[in-house]
Structure formats: C-alpha cells, structure tokens
Symmetry: C2
Subunit: 367 residues, 2 copies
C-alpha cells in the first residue's frame, strides 16, 4: 500500500460559522492507494475526537498501525488497491493541522484561548478546500464514526451531491445532554488543573506526562465509550493488587484500565485542542440553519448508510434510527438504509467490531 | 413529630472486617416518633453515600428538610405517629460520627489516611451496637436505598432474625465495574487536587469552597444518578448563555446543573470521608464469606422487599432481580418480593419518585 503524508497551506480566509475567520490555515493529510485518472475513486475517511490523519498503515519504525488499519488497506473492506483513500487531521486537532497552539498572525504567539470556536461544518469546509486543491470534485464515499460520523452527515446535508455514498457509524444528528455531561467533566478537569494556567501552559510545564486534568477527563470519556457488558467481560470485579480489598487505594482492574488510558493520553494530546474539539461535538446539530431536522435532512440527495451499535451508550442506536425514520417520512427512503449491529462493545464497537460491518460497507463500495 | 439528635460514645473496640480495630468511636443519630414500651416499633433507616442521620423533619431556622422527609413523618408512608424511626450517620461519614478526620488516639491527630478501611458490614455492626445500647434487640424494619440498600441487605444476611422486614431500594448485591469506574474519577480527581496534599489538607486551605477535586468527582457521580430520559426532560439542549453557541465556555443547561451540584457539594462534605465511603461501596459484595452469593443469601430468614427503578444506570434493575431470582431458586420465594418501578429519573428515583412506591411500603409496614 502506498502511504503518503502531506500538508497543504491556505492563505485565503476560511469563513467560520461563528462569523470569525481563520487565516492562514493548514491541513495535514494522508493518502493510501492511487488516484485514478478521472479522480473518481476517492474515499474520504473522517476521524473522531482523538483520531488523526494516520488512519491506516504503519510508519517505518513504528509498532502501531493507523487507527482503522483493520478496515482500510490492500484487499481490506476499504480496498486501497481499488480506491484512493484520504484522511485529514481536522483543523483544531493537534496532529499537524491548524490548532489553538498554532501561531496567531495578529500576535505572533499561539492562539490558545483566542482560537475561534469551530463547528463540524467548519471542519468539513476546510476538508472540501483540500480536496478541491487536489482537483477532487466528487467523492466515491465519505466514511466516519463518532465525531467522524457527524462530519459524514454534514457532507450529506451541506454538500448534497459531492459524495456518492455516505457511511455514518456510531454518531448522532445532535449531541444529547449525557454526551455533553461527560464532556463537562473534561472541561472542568482541564480548567481546574493549576498547570492549565487558563490556557497559558508552557509545553515545558507539562512535558513529562501532559496535563493531568486532561487525563481525568479522558477517563470520564472512556466510561462512555464502554458498555456495561464490555466492562463485565473485560474487568468484572477483579483486583489488580492482591491485598486491594482492605487498602484504601487498592485497585480493581477497571480502575487500572482507566488509569492507563487516562494518563497515557495527555502525553500525546493537547488540552486546548481537546477543549475545542469537544466543543464542536457539543454544539453539533444537523438541524441548525433549518426550521426542523426534517427540513435539513430533506436536502440530502446522496445514498446514506447508517450503522449503530446496540450497546453504544454515548450515541445510542435510537439517535441514528431517528435520522433514518425522518428521512423515510420525508420520502427519502430510497436513499437510506439503517443497520443496528448487535455488539457488547459499546461506542468503541465501530473501532473494534469491524468484522460485524466491514463486509457490508465493502459490498456497497464495490457495487 | 418529635425529632431528637443524640450521640453515643463507645470505648470498647469495634473489630473491623479488615482485621483492624476502631477504638473509641461514636455515632450520631436522630430519632423520630416515640419508642413504644416493648420496643417493638423501631424502624431503622440507612443512608446513602452523601446522606446523613437527618432523614426527616426540619431543624429550627433551617429551610431544608431531611433528605427523605417526603417519605417519613407523621401520617406519611413511614408513619412517625406509629413507628419510632432511627437514622444514624454512618461511621466514616462526616456529619458527626467517627470519621477519617476524628482524632486518632495513637497520635492525637486526625486519622486522615491512617483511618482503617471500613466495609458495609462494619458500618452495620456499629449501628447494631447503637441499637443494643438503646435496648433495642429487634427491628420492625430496615429501609435503605443505594448504599443504604447495601446496608439493608447486609442486615438480612448477617443478622437474619434481627428485623421483621427489610426494604432494599436501588441497590445491588455487589458493585459492578461501571459503578467502580465512576468512583475512579472521584478518587483520581481528589488525589490529583494539589490542595488535597495526600490527605493532609488543612480545613483553612479549603475553607471557602471545599476541595475542587471532590466537586469534579461529584459531577461524575451525578451523571450516574440521572438517566438519559431525565436529562432529556430536565435539560435537553438548552443553553444557559444566549450566546453560548460560539463561545468556547458557553454552557448548556446540563453543564450548569453539574456545576451547581458539583461545586456546592464540597462545601459541606469532607473529601477523606468521601474516599472512605466510596471504598465501602466499591468492595461491597454480599457473597463475601460464603462460597457463592446463593449460599450467602440462603442465610436470610426475614422478609425482603426489593424495589428497583427502570432507568437506574448505576444499580441496574437486573442487579436486584438477580438477588430475587437466586432466593427463589434457593427455595426462599415466600420471603421475597421484587418490584421494578417504571421511572425516568434514573438512580435518583428512590429519592424523588416516592409516590410510585411509598404506598407499597406503608402497606407492608402496617400490615
């Protein structure tokens, strides 16, 4: 598989939904496979909250493959011998695209809390610019899960004929209060951390382990990514320490899992980026700009394929079913299909239960 | 209603499940109504994580009544014209009974992290001592919800003939990993708070607002006390600030709710007490000391009444149903009844949906 990482710089302004402007900005992206001569084999993959453009393949010297490597590659469900796959690091994120830690041209210092609030729509707008800069004016498909699924839905509503197929996994048309509540723990944990310094932390201060407050918030996030069944299966009531029972800080396995995933995260993720990204998720609402969600969805002209997961506690199956049912009621039944996949893996299922849905996506992509 | 607050001091040692000893210790408690001549009208109410002995009535000059005041009082479901109700502040808690901030006689300083780990069984043992000191050798009933329900079940297993009726609401026989996971956020948030100082905080340091880390943990707790439906009903996607949409820290109503309940909590609750109490919940397991939960439950000789709530995400209905089913399989079907109450209020339902179950409890108590 051919894997290329590139960066594109834009000097023209990106007009944001908030009325603010981002200028200049840049987007880092990765491509897999070969673009065909008429540029008709492009599949865009959109990433989730903590994801990056590195969606597949393994960098030289790296042990870990891209975050959806089981799904994308030569001969895989998203077959890179047939398709040219592109994944971009979202603006606002911290893996190379313009983010709150980028230089604010007005001050020649990092934006930090002066960075403008972004929306899913803004992120998608920036992606479309990148695609156009590559001469890509149509997509074979957009595929995204979780926050990536929000972006996918945004393509469907705002760019009705841009993509032939849109796959939305484990996502929602508007974020519900429980998802906002989990994010609230993160917001407060970051802001209360004295090392955050109101956004003015120096990389030096948090060099070793990153910001502890972000670790805490990430632990809260992980609770929402799991399901009751997956926790029972993975951890049960097993202790880490043999004498953990009567030691105040003796730990259960589930606690070690949260510690490990929580504290390792801020080592590679920036807290300001995290705050800006969860904001885009909190305020995502596919109905915005229309009177009703039904009116908004009525704009869709492309084929939309929904996959929800039965144990998903963050974006519950009912949330995607609602989108499907509204579209059917709108008379758009020929455009949509909805599959709820039985899974014990909670929200994480879209990343770990590939074999339950990848063949369905492959069939559609190659039909 | 006659309301009395008293404290009882014990100089004899309390032998704890851990093998450690608590000596001396004291327990503060409140009583409502009048003890009859043969002391046969006693109802013990056991409190939950953040509760206290002040379960009913209103103190002079206070605006807020006790935490289960709608349920307990003259003419109410637990009728204090008929019954003598007693509620004790659990040892380990911070409302007047012996706690981690009590003086350790070995050092003449507060115990802090030298306080012994307590279990639900230890808490109940201390309660039984108080009752015996009052000459009470039998109970008409024990009633408790959440952690109070764990205590109620503990009475059933460990003191099989002590109470005539035991009512267990919104609780479990053993804490599942998701409940432990929510508590983990609290543990990490408290320990990471620089003001916690490894348990050596001075009251002066946190005088104004209490420990912020505890506030964070309490927010995580509140997510688990609500349900998806209750969040949709209470908050939906409403904003607090009109221009909240494009302001990074603009808040949704659900965020304000968590802020309010989170940050007000540490003003009256001690962080070390909180750590010790959630530990008792994490390690609660009614099967401990027996080969199986079925063996443990087989000891029960009293009438046990279970009430679960359909939307409870913390202690799910299945958890109490399991206890009921094991007892039925044990041939104890004549001792138990199980009711699942339809409610959108999540775990909090046992405190707020009184009219859905109080009449059932009243009927049993007065039959």
């Amino acid at each position: 598989m051919i894997l290329e990482t590139k960066k594109v710089f834009f000097d023209e302004p990106l007009y944001l939904e908030s009325g603010r402007v981002l200028k200049p900005y840049e987007v880092i992206y990765e491509t897999y496979g070969t673009l065909n001569s008429d540029k008709s084999n492009v599949i865009l993959v959109t990433h989730a909250l903590s994801g990056s453009h590195h969606v597949a393949g393994t960098y030289e010297g790296d042990r870990k493959a891209g975050w959806w490597d089981g799904f994308i590659g030569d001969g895989k469900a998203v077959d890179t011998t047939k398709f040219f796959v592109i994944c971009m690091n979202n603006i606002g994120s911290c893996f190379g695209s313009t983010s709150p830690m980028s230089i604010n041209p007005a001050t020649n210092k990092p934006y930090r809390l002066k960075f403008p609030v972004l929306t899913i729509s803004d992120i998608v707008k920036a992606q479309v610019r990148v695609l156009k800069s590559l001469g890509i004016t149509e997509l074979h498909a957009v595929i995204g899960g979780s926050m990536g699924g929000m972006q996918a839905l945004c393509y469907a509503v705002e760019y009705p004929t841009f993509a032939k197929h849109i796959f939305m996994l484990a996502a929602t048309a508007y974020t519900r209060p429980w998802a906002i509540a989990y994010n609230k723990i993160t917001i407060e944990a970051i802001r209360n951390d004295p090392d955050f310094k109101d956004g003015n932390y120096e990389s030096e201060d948090i060099k070793e382990n990153g910001l502890k407050g972000l670790a805490l918030g990430r632990m809260a996030g992980h609770i929402s990514y799991l399901s009751n069944d997956s926790m029972d299966m993975k951890f049960g009531r097993r202790y880490v320490e043999q004498d953990g029972l009567y030691e105040l800080f003796g730990r259960f396995e589930v606690e070690r899992y949260l510690e490990y995933n929580g504290y390792s995260f801020p080592k590679y993720f920036d807290p300001l980026s995290y705050l800006y990204i969860i904001k885009t998720m909190n305020i995502f609402n596919a109905a915005r700009g229309s009177d009703t969600l039904a009116d908004s969805l009525a704009k869709i002209k492309t084929k939309l394929h929904f996959y929800s997961f039965s144990g998903d506690l963050l974006f519950k199956p009912e949330e995607m079913e609602e989108i499907y049912e509204i579209m059917v009621a709108n008379g758009q039944g020929d455009l949509v299909d909805y599959t709820m996949i039985e899974s014990n893996y909670g929200h994480d299922a879209f990343l770990v239960e590939l074999d339950k849905f990848d063949f369905m996506i492959k069939e559609i992509l190659e039909s």
